[in-house]
């Protein structure tokens, strides 16, 4: 995920301080991976340098000065371009799982065992996500669904591979 574009997008709804940006990002997108303050400030200085944000005001307080950032016209255009550009689907052609299955067959280990163990691990993650979904709000549900569908796709591949192990063995370890 592009942190720069996400922070820019958050600024489009109105100027914010760095701390406020971090908090909003963490609430909406950073459930598992909250932003570090350093990431926010380094990103903002990059966006400032590129003319995508500007300093809207500075508050002097007891501590360090707090800058309030606002998005520029160029920034709005950049967010619009990012949102309108479809993401390239990741092809996963050289997945670790495929490599492991082939190596298991080449070394005459039990590849079905490996697939069973992997299925179990995937299901463990899916249970945790399903639990989080049940206790969460709509945003949580959507985030978890996205992860669940990806894990499910992996599992379908695991099942298909399990069903084709004999054929695969003939090809890779005749």
């Amino acid at each position: 995920m592009s942190i720069g574009h996400t922070l820019l997008g958050l600024l489009e709804s109105g100027p914010r301080h760095g701390y406020d940006l971090k908090r909003t990002f963490d609430e909406k997108f950073g459930h598992d991976r909250p932003l570090h303050y350093g990431q926010v400030y380094s990103t903002m200085s990059r966006l400032l340098k590129n003319g995508l944000v500007e300093v809207d005001g500075i508050e002097a307080g007891g501590g360090p000065e707090r800058k309030r950032y606002a998005i520029t016209e160029a920034g709005v255009t950049d967010v619009a371009r990012w949102l309108a550009t479809p993401e390239t689907p990741e092809p996963y052609l050289q997945s670790t799982l495929y490599t492991k299955v082939v190596l298991a067959l080449l070394t005459h280990r039990d590849a079905a065992d490996l697939l069973d163990g992997q299925r179990s691990e995937h299901l463990r993650h899916m249970r945790a996500l399903t639990e989080r979904k049940r206790d969460g709000d709509l945003a949580d549900q959507l985030i978890c669904d996205h992860a669940l569908f990806h894990l499910e796709a992996d599992l379908r591949w695991l099942e298909l591979t399990a069903a084709r192990l004999d054929k695969l063995r003939q090809v890779v370890a005749p």
Partner: protein
């Protein structure tokens, strides 16, 4: 490989074998489940998972092997005793075709109690309680043909729970539903079963459905593998 069932199991099976003609459906399958536990039975089509469920539920007798339910050997019971056990202690949810089209939804849910001799009013009161729990009480007077697939499946789940069964057998319970309806059925079903401390044997090939279970066993070529006990 046969291992001793874990202590406290409500239903266990050891070394089950079952053949349909020349086809071996179960080839030494083991199983165990505790009260309040949801166990998913997974595996490819034709692996023997439905046969395992049918044997565990006493619908089909295995050719050999032992099935113990609450200290009694299911495989040694006569048909009448097994049928009585199924009616009073077990509940069933299948993919579709479970509701009697001529009866209203509340009559369908009350049916297992009526078959056990409970008076109509009392049976329908209990049925309505479960329908509320499954969020379909407003459909009480409708017939199955007048409700959607998801609603009908919730009615079927209410019916499976109405006798306060100790074991629920579900074979692809959301197989005919879309994702959203399927998830809601699974949420309500597993919540209701867990709060009633009923054990659920859940046959499914869908990972998202299996994710509502506490653990899974995998059946392949008639042999079962308990993933939790393997690790």
């Amino acid at each position: 490989m046969t291992t001793a069932p874990p202590p406290g199991s409500l239903l266990t099976a050891e070394n089950l074998r079952k053949a349909y003609g020349p086809t071996l459906a179960l080839d030494g399958a083991d199983f165990s489940i505790h009260p309040g536990e949801v166990v998913a039975v997974m595996g490819p089509s034709g692996s023997g998972k439905s046969t395992l469920l049918h044997c565990l539920a006493g619908i089909v007798p295995p050719d050999s092997g032992t099935i113990m339910y609450d200290g009694q050997e299911l495989s040694a019971m006569n048909d009448a005793r097994r049928s009585a056990l199924r009616r009073s202690e077990f509940g069933f949810v299948f993919q579709f075709g479970q509701l009697v089209p001529e009866l209203t939804c509340v009559e369908n849910v009350a049916l297992p109690l009526r078959l056990n001799g409970r008076p109509r009013k009392e049976a329908e009161r209990a049925a309505l309680g479960w329908m509320e729990r499954l969020e379909v009480d407003d459909l009480a007077k409708k017939r199955p043909g007048e409700v959607s697939g998801g609603q009908g499946q919730r009615v079927a789940v209410a019916r499976s729970l109405v006798t306060d069964p100790r074991v629920l057998f579900a074979d692809e319970p959301t197989g005919a539903l879309d994702s959203l309806n399927g998830e809601r059925v699974m949420e309500l079903f597993t919540d209701a079963a867990r709060s009633a401390n009923a054990a659920v044997v859940l046959v499914t090939h869908e990972a998202r459905v299996a994710a509502y279970s506490d653990r899974e066993i995998v059946v392949r070529d008639g042999k079962s593998r308990d993933m939790e006990r393997v690790v």
